[in-house]
Structure formats: structure tokens, C-alpha cells
């Protein structure tokens, strides 16, 4: 039930781009993306509903491929503030909870 994220960790220089992937073995109803900074609670970034949409949030956007049961988070022109662990959360029709992925630790260095 738990989605799988890749990569597990990535280090970027400021201004570089990154892609984080999230895959599920079950058909998805929605995908959420969250960022968690060390010692803090996860913070909601965006939700994608089934339909293959893409959404944006500042320089962070995401896509959802329903057929492949995958979502990708795109971070462009990364900033130091983007550092943290990114989690996808997935659910399926009829479920009333999210299962969170294994997390991707992103470190942006000057």
C-alpha cells in the first residue's frame, strides 16, 4: 500500500532542477505532496486528482499519470529554502487516509 519514492536523497546547488518520483501499486484517486523540514511537521504543497493534471506552486510543480499510477514533483531553479524531506501521499477511491511514501531528502547547497 505504501508508495515508493525515488530517489531517496538528492543534493543540488542553488538554481539547479530536480525531479522526485512517486509510484503506487494500486490505482490512485489522488496524490498529495508535502515537504517536511527537520524537526517540523509536514507541510502541504499540492494535491493532484486523477485525470493526469499538472499543477504548479511557485517554482514547484507536479504531474499525475493515472495509467502508470505515478506522480512526479518538479523543482526548478532550486532555492536554499527548498531543502527538506519530500513525501508523496496517496489514496484510492473509498479510502479515507493517505499512505505516505518513503520520502526523498533534498539538500540545496549554495
Amino acid at each position: 500500500q505504501q508508495p515508493v519514492q525515488s530517489p531517496q536523497a538528492v543534493i543540488l546547488r542553488e538554481g539547479e532542477d530536480a525531479v522526485i518520483n512517486c509510484s503506487s501499486s494500486k490505482a490512485l484517486y489522488s496524490v498529495h505532496w508535502y515537504r517536511q523540514k527537520h524537526g517540523e511537521a509536514p507541510v502541504f504543497l499540492m494535491i493532484l486528482l486523477k485525470g493526469g493534471e499538472q499543477k504548479g506552486h511557485e517554482k514547484i510543480s507536479a504531474s499525475f499519470n493515472e495509467k502508470k499510477q505515478q506522480s512526479s514533483l518538479y523543482l526548478t531553479a532550486s532555492q536554499l529554502s527548498y531543502s527538506g524531506t519530500y513525501f508523496c501521499g496517496t489514496d484510492w477511491a473509498g479510502a479515507n487516509n493517505l499512505f505516505f511514501g518513503t520520502g526523498t531528502r533534498l539538500t540545496v547547497i549554495p
Binding site: A41, P42, L45, M46, N97, F100, G101, G103
Partner: protein, 114 residues
């Protein structure tokens, strides 16, 4: 910005003792959740609560765990007889409606069982 409030922020308890973790969700939210995160690991689902009853629970949420919404504002998680492996950060979360937004998490309660 509305917040989910959790108390206490830290709790140390002896193995076998009962603990109650408290949460005040955002007032117009309808769905409530408890998750836990063992240090440095994934965020694990415990239980979801809607319309004054449990809607789903995980295998972690065994007979030692219970949830209540006693007064329409507080949302509590009780662990009856704590074990060492219950040590974790416990997060409460709430959501207004499905599909319209995400979860708002509280800042968590760090539970240490000794």
C-alpha cells in the same frame, strides 16, 4: 492562518503507563487523523476519524490505542499501556473535505517511552 494544535510537545513516560495525546483540529475541518513518525523514518498512518467515528485504522492501531472526540473540538489519542517501540513523533492532522485540499498537520508530540 488556522492551525492544528497539539499538546504536550514532549512526553516522557514509563513503559506500561497510559498516555493521552491531545489535538485541537481546525474548527471547520471534518476529517481527522493520527500519524506517527519514528525518528528519520516514514510517516505511518494510525487512524482516521470522520462523523464521530473511526473510518479506517492501520494494523499498528491495535487494542492498546483508542481515539475520542469528547467535546466537538478536542481529538485525543490514548495509548493504554505504552511499549518502548511506541516512542515516536505523533502527528495529528485535519482536512476540510476530500479532494479539495491537503492535510494540515499539528506540530507533533514527541513521545519517549523509557
Amino acid at each position: 492562518e488556522p492551525e492544528v494544535t497539539q499538546t504536550p510537545s514532549h512526553q516522557v513516560t514509563q513503559m506500561g503507563q497510559e498516555v493521552i495525546l491531545r489535538c485541537v483540529p481546525i474548527s471547520n475541518h471534518l476529517y481527522f487523523y493520527w500519524y506517527r513518525q519514528i525518528l528519520g523514518q516514514k510517516v505511518e498512518f494510525l487512524v482516521s476519524f470522520y462523523n464521530n467515528e473511526i473510518s479506517e485504522k492501520s494494523e499498528i492501531f491495535d487494542d492498546q490505542f483508542s481515539v475520542e472526540r469528547p467535546d466537538g473540538s478536542n481529538f485525543t489519542l490514548k495509548i493504554r499501556s505504552t511499549k518502548l517501540e511506541d516512542s515516536a513523533m505523533y502527528f495529528c492532522a485535519s482536512m476540510r473535505e476530500q479532494g479539495a485540499g491537503g492535510y494540515t498537520f499539528g506540530s507533533g508530540t514527541r513521545l519517549t517511552v523509557v
